[in-house]
């Protein structure tokens, strides 16, 4: 009976170990996949259009949802902290790709709108973006 219990116990441990290894492997694959795509995007978008992958995501968001967009909405869309988003918008504004406008209804917030230059930049970068995705995900 003691042996029987040991056996059961060993089996349970083995099963949970296997499950655990599966999780770890899944995580490593996720990490590898993400790194490959992100690095490639960062690289190609930078060299061809002078913007980073996060900048592109923000532009895409602004170009797609074609109404005024709160800064907080952007924070939700791209996976960055609130402060990082704030600086990202500041960079884009400095390059003339977006504009910040006061929100009269709630004067704490701001609206971020894409400019014509920004839309143009987005459309150009979009091709590169899709191209990289096809290469790295397809």
């Amino acid at each position: 009976m003691c042996l029987h219990l040991m056996c059961v116990h060993a089996k349970l441990v083995a099963v949970s170990d296997v499950a655990e290894q599966g999780l770890v492997q899944e995580w490593h694959e996720l990490l590898a996949r993400y790194s490959a795509v992100f690095t490639a995007l960062e690289c190609r978008l930078q060299e061809r259009h002078g913007i980073g992958a996060n900048e592109f995501e923000a532009l895409e968001r602004l170009a797609t949802c074609d109404f005024k967009c709160r800064s907080a909405d952007l924070t939700g869309a791209i996976h960055l902290s609130q402060s990082a988003t704030s600086r990202l918008v500041a960079r884009l504004e400095k390059e003339g790709l977006v504009e910040r406008a006061l929100c009269e209804l709630d004067r704490r917030g701001i609206f971020v709108t894409i400019t014509d230059a920004g839309r143009e930049k987005y459309l150009a970068a979009k091709r590169t973006h899709r191209e990289v995705l096809t290469e790295t995900l397809g």
Copy 2:
């Protein structure tokens, strides 16, 4: 015939658009999944063990492949640049979790070995790591 060609053309465009949208969606899901897991790992590992997610990956690599490990091997395992790996090893060494040893065969390279303290830290952090993976991936 002209209409026919237009039709074919429109169809092809539509098909490629659909495929493209699929890729974009896949990328966004990948990004969201990665961000969620990485952020959670970073947070919990930091607060409970005082190490980052990348530090953990390096320790795991060193603890698992239990022979001497070149710095370049680490660069391949964790998804960081060579310089980032170099600094990562420097941080781990400063905390007494790994040691750098000269490689006599090729005196340009170094061997990185995990210390007892490092192995202990790894085993403790491993539980937290698996726990977070279970929560965020499972």
